[in-house]
Amino acid sequence: MLFNSLLFGAFFCVVLTLHQLRAPWWLRKTHLVVASYAFYAAWNPPFVLLLLASTIVDWLVARSLARTENQLARRALLGASLLVNLGLLASFKYGDFLLASFGDAVALWGGQWNPPELGWVLPVGISFYTFQTLSYTIDVYRRELTPARSFLDFALFVGFFPQLVAGPIVRASEFLPQCETPQRTTLDGLSWGLLLVIIGLFQKVVLADTLLAPASDAVFGADQWGVLDAWVGALAFSGQIFFDFSGYSLCAIGVAGCLGFRLPENFNAPYAALGLSDFWRRWHITLSSWLRDYLYVPLGGNRRGALRTYRNLMLTMLLGGLWHGAAWNFVIWGGLHGLFLSIERYIRQWVSPAETLRPALLVTGTTSTFLLTTYAWVWFRAADIEAAGRISGAMFGWSTVPSSLHEPSTRVSVLLVMIGLVATHYLTREKSLAQTLVLVPRPLRVLALSLMLIAVVMVRGNDQAFIYFQF
């Protein structure tokens, strides 16, 4: 059930109406859990069992963790949670990849082993809710969090439908307190939530799917590219993935807000980032902060010398890449970010923070960051490593083919959309969306948002899934 479908519109109207009933809070929470499971079942009904299993395991593990002082037992409990959660993730998401990679490794050593093809369907959102449940158990293990008092609250935390399948990745410490007091729809919350949904849908349906996806697909579906083709494709995908995922996050935050719940921000003008570390503070914020807190810091972070810091950065980004998909091109994408982050860290030793605020350096720095991330997206989007390598080559001029994949008007529209996107990010890099919207005179705001909504209705499209659903 996609946010950009009529079905979701009808589903949400029903859920929102029932949420307003004057019923006890536990009953309204039960309704939200049931609605969330129905939402999840809309993709593939049997997979709700997986969601339920993950919820029960971490609920039991966390309660046991809180009760025991024995360090060995605590470690065993944490290990059990990691084994179950990561085991499910590894089996469903990485099973074929691991088997194929093992087969390749055997072949490298002169042996021969044909891996069986599991062909298992990937349960949508498994990467997201696995990270949520893991962070809960780890926080309880670290004694940074007391376990949820009610199973209902915990089930709602894991399965809350607005963010269940593609984030934002919510921490229990942020969500569970909201379950303790009755959350009601307020007129302001409903209004702001609806506006966020309109902006999110516009980003997804009009900008990502209609304007940019065709230009990007034309390049990543081709087998030869001119220099201009490769750049237009890379820029188009850069915009497409931002609008797609940011659009989803805005819809999720808006839908949750309509119900009275608060979800964390996931994007903050990432294409105006000054440096890659700044980029990761602005892009998929809830994932990058998860990786920081549960991977980078436990690995030692930057506390054990320069070399260990670079190693930790690289490992974190490689695993972050792998989280996105079971293929080597995602690993390379993560590796590129790890490399860029390491180089940036090295350079920052010689540049004082004050200097980075000089306008010339700010413009150069943000532009370079944008171009580096755009280049890295090629590895993320391409069908395989070979295609990514060849498109990369074309971007750097190693192509004798004339650029012919796009009409001139397509190139111009991609360029205009991307200039508009980067300029908007640059101008709003220190402001929230609410602060920006408030600055716009109301008549203009109403007109712009109305036109966005009309465009969403009129474009319609074909209910394309969000890119991050596959992760």
Binding site: L7, S173, D188, S450
Partner: protein, 336 residues
Amino acid sequence: MTKRSSTFSFDHVPAMRGTAARVITVTMVLLAAMELGARALDYTASVTDDEDLLCLQLERVEEPGSVVLVGASRIRAGFSADVFRERYPGRPLVNLALAGKCPLAMLAELADNDEFHGSVIYAINESCIDPRLRSHQRGNINYCEQQWSTSKSISRRLRLALEPYLALMRPTVGLANVIQSLKEHGTLPEHDYYQMNADRLNDIDFSEKGPELSKVRVARLRAHHRRNKPLPVATWLREARLMDSYAQRIQQRGGRVWVVRFPTSGTFWQLEERAYPRSQYWDKFAAEASAHLVHFADLPTADLACGDQSHLDGRDAPAFTAALLDEIEKKDGFAD
């Protein structure tokens, strides 16, 4: 609870209730104006066909007494649901025809379904009886078998409830189409010359586009015949027997299969007849088939001219359907 480091849009909810109310009002007003404008410009509402709509129909084949239409675009243009319903009130009509695709795979699917005991009107033309085209419709069937879900079903029903009433839901007047037309031709998109109903049957009006489309259809058929030489009679009959074996399986369960050659006319029909002369192909098969065969040329409506030489005009479809149903009733009728 100790940790909390994220920022939240809803920490400081801006006062936007006025904005939201105005946005919804302005949008509703503008959309209503656009709907009226589209209607004033003669754009009409219509159901839009897609894979999900086919799956909705496929769900219904096991309804008792169902009459299932299988074929391609000709049966969708030439069969009138109104005439059928008038004559058989309450009898389920299921339309599994897929435009542009030869239908053998769909017939095989019905033959494989032991729960199907209904009747099939199987529209076929001679060039579709070809071993290379056996699985033309298989992809659509696979979609319904493997990807169809309750949520898709509800979603499609919701759209189906709106499409017949809102011209703006028609892809022709979708924003992307309008922009493309303005960019390429400097005009609004051309009007569609057909309307589709919830049965996936088309009501086509060829009065304006007929002559132009006739040329296109004839040119395409000539090109097709240049690329694909007609099958030798023996090969064709072998393939027709395979088709008949599926019909036999349905009939053995108490069902009926009516194999119907829908009308074509003019040069188009002459070219088809030259490639697959009726006496050497259709009639030979009719002599040995266990299914009931009906050729349009044998019906009282034989001289109906097709609007584009390949499909019946919506105004002629009722007469043809009535003649076809007469013929069916005269022989074995539909299964109960």
